[in-house]
Symmetry: C2
Amino acid sequence: MSRTSQADKRRTLNAQKITEAAIELADSQGIEALSMRKLATQLGVTAMSIYNHVANKDDLLSLMLDHVVSEFERPQIKGDWQETMRRRAHSMRQAFLRHPWAPPLLISTITNGEQTMRDTDATLGCLINVGFTYATADWARNAIDSHIYGYTMQELNFPVEPDEYKAAAAHYLPMIEKSDFPYLHGATLALVNGEYDGVTQFDFGLNLLLEGLARQLQSGQLS
Amino acid sequence: MSRTSQADKRRTLNAQKITEAAIELADSQGIEALSMRKLATQLGVTAMSIYNHVANKDDLLSLMLDHVVSEFERPQIKGDWQETMRRRAHSMRQAFLRHPWAPPLLISTITNGEQTMRDTDATLGCLINVGFTYATADWARNAIDSHIYGYTMQELNFPVEPDEYKAAAAHYLPMIEKSDFPYLHGATLALVNGEYDGVTQFDFGLNLLLEGLARQLQSGQLS
DNA sequence: GCCGTCAAATATACACTGTATACATAATGC
DNA sequence: GCATTATGTATACAGTGTATATTTGACGGC
């Protein structure tokens, strides 16, 4: 038994297990709670053991991010490009809601891993396949991703359930002087009175982009 | 002289000076270099002195962010709403290029200061004034801001000057296997060959949004 | 001019961070 | 079975935010 318990203590660690435990910790406790010592404790090991499998914390974060990217739905090259882009966008938003620490890091990290390259390749491929040029496919991907990241980060910033909006608005209303902020006051009041449910729509902005792209593509401005 | 130098050491600090020094430090050295001790040194004072004027580091960051927001061009309620939105968007991007640490914090911070409220109020006001409802104005602002934040953060993530794109692409090309990433490889090659300058366009995505909004507004879908 | 009061600057300390370095130990190749 | 190598550990260091206690200097009333 001493032998097995000792054996258990050896060769149990690897980069994948570390990455998974780190993601779980960041998901449940927040990214600021992810320290090498806490992660090591979670893994039943000392902090320095981790460094036998990952170069440093930045390296670990890259592994975590690449895993998140692997959860994006990979575009099919053939098929309805608008629907493909929509499915990818929705899967990205869902992944970000599961891993709220990811978007700021992902968008601010230069060194991207293999999954990121696969995602970019498939996304560009889908667009190029329907007539976009390298340049316009890049512009389109850039605009779509801007919306996905920007929208989701705003959404994560204000984590209020649809049925709580009214209460949240009522809470903030007294701080918003009508004379100073007439429109903001009116908007908040509309929320309190139930004239507007406060739910912004991910698809609203996404559709504006996709419809605009489709129109420009059809009129030959993008090919 | 001892009196004046001593007097200089007293009553010289206030929240505004601290905020300005902190912004300067973050702009020049990066947000990760902004520590209370370094900031104190910059101000010729000890770290704990700062706490006589700001509650804690989070409070300081809020002050810094509100200053950044004050650099946004405040929408006029009357006037061409598309042009107003465009001017605001451009001024925001410029502010973010000056203060690259700001976007992730600004988009992830719940407690927003007075300047943020002024910006939101004026933006909603401009839209409501031309026929948007509280709901559709909120959707529009949300979509536009998503693009501004998302685009700028992507841009900051890849800080390559236009004339360096070719060299950067040539550097990355060997890492991108043609068989694994055909489209990414092709796009990078197009950059190396000068067929595409690599400059994505802030206005490309912004125009898609504004034109789509204008069309929907005109057809009565937003009022 | 002096002196008590009070605000502002400081000194010290604590718990926590990432990680360099040196070492111990268990698994593997010959 | 033994040397090598891989993996986990112990210790230490510089740096972080900030709580607490203390000193210091400016100002109002006499």
